[in-house]
C-alpha cells in the first residue's frame, strides 16, 4: 500500500519524458524560421521525440497505476551530485584560474573526498600526473592549456 502513495509524477521516467517534451517543443520554435527542406529532418526528429516521450510517459504512468515501483536512479544521490559538482567546479576553475593550478588541486581533492586518504600516495600521483601532462602536452606537443580568465584581466 505504501508504494501507491508515492507521487506518480516524480518518477524518474515520467520526469525525463516531461523534460524531453518541453525541451523538444522549445527547439521546435526556431524551426519555423528555417526553409522547409532545412527544417524537415530536425522537425521530424523533434516531433518524434515529443510523440515517443508521450508514449514513454503513458507507459510509466501505467506502471505506476499498477503499483510497480520505479527503480531509484542512484543509491547515493549525494555522492553523485558531489562527483558531478566537483567535475563542473574543476571545469569552471580551469576556465577562470587556469589549467595547472586547478588540476593540481582537483586530483588530490577528488580522490580524498571519495575515499583515498593516503597523503603520500596523493602527492606522488598528483606530481606524476601533472608532470606527465606538462611533459607530453605542453613541452612535447606545444599544446596550450587555459591560463585562466582572471589573470587575463
Amino acid at each position: 500500500m505504501s508504494e501507491s502513495r508515492k507521487p506518480r509524477l516524480t518518477r524518474p521516467e515520467t520526469l525525463t519524458a516531461i523534460g524531453i517534451i518541453l525541451v523538444a517543443a522549445g527547439f521546435l520554435i526556431p524551426t519555423v524560421d528555417l526553409r522547409p527542406i532545412s527544417a524537415l529532418l530536425p522537425a521530424a526528429m523533434l516531433i518524434g521525440l515529443i510523440v515517443l516521450s508521450v508514449f514513454l510517459l503513458l507507459a510509466d504512468q501505467r506502471k505506476a497505476k499498477a503499483g510497480e515501483d520505479a527503480a531509484p536512479m542512484t543509491k547515493s544521490p549525494k555522492r553523485v551530485l558531489g562527483a558531478f559538482g566537483l567535475i563542473v567546479a574543476y571545469a569552471i576553475a580551469t576556465d577562470f584560474l587556469g589549467f595547472y593550478p586547478s588540476t593540481a588541486v582537483t586530483i588530490p581533492l577528488v580522490a580524498w573526498i571519495f575515499g583515498y586518504r593516503s597523503p603520500i600516495g596523493l602527492l606522488i600521483a598528483t606530481v606524476i600526473v601533472v608532470g606527465t601532462i606538462w611533459a607530453i602536452f605542453d613541452f612535447g606537443m606545444s599544446q596550450d592549456f587555459p591560463a585562466g580568465r582572471l589573470w587575463d584581466r
Binding site: 530536425p42 515517443l52 586530483i107 596523493l122 600526473v129
Partner: protein, 499 residues
C-alpha cells in the same frame, strides 16, 4: 580485391604504427582489468588525443585497446568474480572457482590464449568479408545510401533489445544533434543560438566523451569498490609454454567460440556478452562432463573468452563497409575514423585502402600480441592492477577528459558542452536508454540528410525516387524486417510456450 591488403602490410610494420598497437594492447588490458571502465570509455577518452597523430597510429591504438580490453576484463572476472567488462560475465562462471582452487594463473592463461585465438579469427573474418562487401556498396546511389542509414539506425534500435521506445528516443536525439550547425546546402544556421562555436556542428568527440566517459567516472566515484587486494603469489602461474599442453583438448571450443563471436559481431546491436554466453552454453551442452562446469572447468573460460574476443574485428565489417556498427565500441570507433576524415562506407576502401587494410592488420597483430602478454610475469603484473585506488583513477580520468575535449579546438565551450552531454548520458544510462543509437544517429544523421536531399534533387522533389530501384526496395524490406522481426519472434515464442 585482396591486393590492397598485401600492399598495406609494410605501413603496419612502421615503428610508430606497430608501437601504437603494442601500447594500445597494454592500455586496453589495464582498462579492461579495472571494473567500471570499458573499451568504449577508453577509446572515447583516447579519440581526441589522436587528432595530431597519423591515422594508422591512432587506429592502431584503438585496435590494440579493443583487443586488450576484451582480455583485460577476464582478470577481475577470474580473481574477484567481478567482470571487468560486460563481455566477461560468462568468464566468472568457471574462472573464479578456478582461482579459489589456486588455479587463477592458469585460468588467466587460458583466457589470454583463447582471447588471442578469437581475436585472430575475427581479424581474418574482417579481412576476408569486408572487401567484397565494400565492392557491392560502391554501386549505391543517394537513395540507397539514405536507406542504408535508415537500416543501420533501425538495426541498432530494434536488435539491441530492451525498450524500442527508448531506443528510438536515443536515435532521434542523435540525429537531432547531427543537424545542429550550418545547413550543408543552404548554409543557414540551425539551432546555433548565435554561438559561433556551434556553426561547424557538434564534434562527435565531444558527444562520445560526454556520453561514454563521464557516466563511468561518476559510477567509479559513486560506489568505491572495496577489494581485499590481490596477492599475485597465490595465482599459481607458470610459464605459458608449460600451460599450453594442458589446453590441447580445447580445439573445438575455440573454433565454435570463434564462429559464434564472429557471427554475433557482424549482427548490429548484439555484443560480446551475448557471444560469450552463447559460446559458453554451446560448449557446456556438447561437453562430455557438463556437471563439472561452474565448478572450475578451464574449457568454460576458453569458450567465453574466445567468443568475446571474436566479436571485436567482425563488428567492424558492417561498420567499415556500410557505416553500421555491430557494437557500441564499433560505434565509437566510427567516430574515431571520422576524426581523421575517414567516412565509413564504400568510399573508404576506394580512397584510403592503405589505412583501412592497415587497420585490419593491426587488429590481427593486436590479437597475436595478447599471447606474448600471457606469460607469468605479465599475468602477475596485470593482476596487481586491481589494487589501484578507484577514486584516484576517477580523478585522473576527469583530467584526461578535459584535456582531450579542450584540445579539439582549444576552447572551454566544448568542455561545458561535453559536461552537458555527460549529464544527459548519465540519466540515459541510469534509465536504460541505449547509448549506441545516439552515436549512430549523430554519425548517420547528417549522412542520411545529405543523401535524402540529393536524391530528392535528382527526383525533382518526387519522394518516389526513394523507392524506384531494386536495391532501395530490398533495403526498405530489410528495415521493415528488422523493425517487425523481434515482435514476431516474441509472439512466436509466446505461442509455442502457450501451446
Amino acid at each position: 580485391m585482396y591486393s590492397d591488403l598485401i600492399h598495406a602490410l609494410p605501413d603496419v610494420f612502421a615503428l610508430t604504427n606497430f608501437a601504437a598497437v603494442i601500447i594500445g594492447v597494454i592500455a586496453g588490458i589495464v582498462v579492461g582489468a579495472m571494473p567500471g571502465l570499458s573499451a568504449t570509455m577508453a577509446i572515447s577518452v583516447l579519440v581526441p588525443f589522436t587528432f595530431g597523430l597519423e591515422p594508422l597510429v591512432a587506429l592502431g591504438l584503438m585496435a590494440g585497446i579493443y583487443n586488450g580490453a576484451m582480455y583485460g576484463g577476464a582478470i577481475p572476472a577470474v580473481l574477484l568474480r567481478i567482470p571487468g567488462t560486460p563481455a566477461a560475465v560468462a568468464t566468472t562462471f568457471d574462472g573464479y572457482p578456478m582461482a579459489q582452487k589456486g588455479e587463477g594463473g592458469f585460468a588467466l592463461q587460458v583466457a589470454v590464449v583463447s582471447s588471442a585465438l578469437g581475436g585472430i579469427a575475427s581479424a581474418f573474418a574482417l579481412m576476408l568479408l569486408a572487401p567484397p562487401l565494400s565492392r557491392v556498396t560502391l554501386l549505391f546511389g543517394p537513395s540507397e545510401v539514405f536507406w542504408v542509414a535508415v537500416f543501420g539506425l533501425a538495426s541498432i534500435i530494434f536488435l539491441l533489445g530492451g525498450n524500442p521506445i527508448k531506443g528510438l528516443i536515443s536515435a532521434c536525439f542523435g540525429v537531432f544533434v547531427s543537424v545542429v550547425g550550418s545547413d550543408p546546402i543552404y548554409g543557414n544556421d540551425r539551432f546555433t543560438f548565435g554561438q559561433l562555436e556551434m556553426l561547424d556542428g557538434i564534434n562527435i568527440v565531444i558527444l562520445l566523451v560526454g556520453l561514454y566517459a563521464l557516466p563511468p567516472v561518476i559510477d567509479l566515484l559513486e560506489t568505491p569498490l572495496k577489494t581485499d587486494g590481490v596477492n599475485s603469489t597465490k595465482l599459481g602461474t607458470e610459464s605459458l609454454w608449460k600451460a599450453l599442453p594442458k589446453m590441447k583438448g580445447f580445439g573445438m571450443t575455440w573454433v565454435r567460440g570463434s564462429l559464434i563471436g564472429i557471427w554475433i559481431g557482424i549482427l548490429p546491436g548484439a555484443g560480446g556478452s551475448m557471444a560469450a554466453f552463447m559460446s559458453y552454453n554451446e560448449a557446456r551442452r556438447t561437453s562430455k562432463n557438463p556437471d563439472a562446469w561452474g565448478e572450475g572447468e578451464p574449457e568454460g573460460v576458453a569458450a567465453a573468452e574466445t567468443a568475446n574476443n571474436a566479436d571485436t574485428a567482425s563488428a567492424l565489417i558492417p561498420a567499415l563497409t556500410l557505416g553500421i556498427p555491430g557494437t557500441a565500441v564499433a560505434a565509437v570507433m566510427l567516430g574515431g575514423l571520422l576524426v581523421h576524415g575517414l567516412q565509413p562506407g564504400p568510399m573508404l576502401f576506394r580512397d584510403n585502402p592503405d589505412i583501412v587494410f592497415g587497420f585490419m592488420w593491426q587488429f590481427l597483430f593486436g590479437a597475436i600480441l595478447l599471447v606474448l602478454l600471457g606469460g607469468s610475469l605479465a599475468t602477475n603484473s596485470f593482476a596487481r592492477l586491481l589494487n589501484l585506488p578507484r577514486p584516484l583513477l576517477g580523478s585522473v580520468i576527469i583530467v584526461l577528459m578535459l584535456i582531450g575535449v579542450y584540445s579539439i579546438h582549444g576552447r572551454m565551450f566544448d568542455v561545458y558542452l561535453m559536461l552537458g552531454f555527460g549529464a544527459v548520458g548519465w540519466v540515459m544510462d541510469k534509465l536504460k536508454f541505449p547509448l549506441p543509437p545516439v552515436v549512430l544517429g549523430l554519425i548517420l544523421g547528417g549522412f542520411a540528410e545529405e543523401n535524402l536531399r540529393l536524391a530528392l534533387r535528382i527526383g525533382r522533389g518526387d519522394w518516389m525516387v526513394l523507392f524506384q530501384n531494386t536495391t532501395s526496395l530490398v533495403l526498405v524490406a530489410l528495415t521493415i524486417a528488422v523493425i517487425v522481426g523481434p515482435t514476431l519472434k516474441k509472439r512466436y515464442i509466446d505461442s509455442r510456450k502457450a501451446a
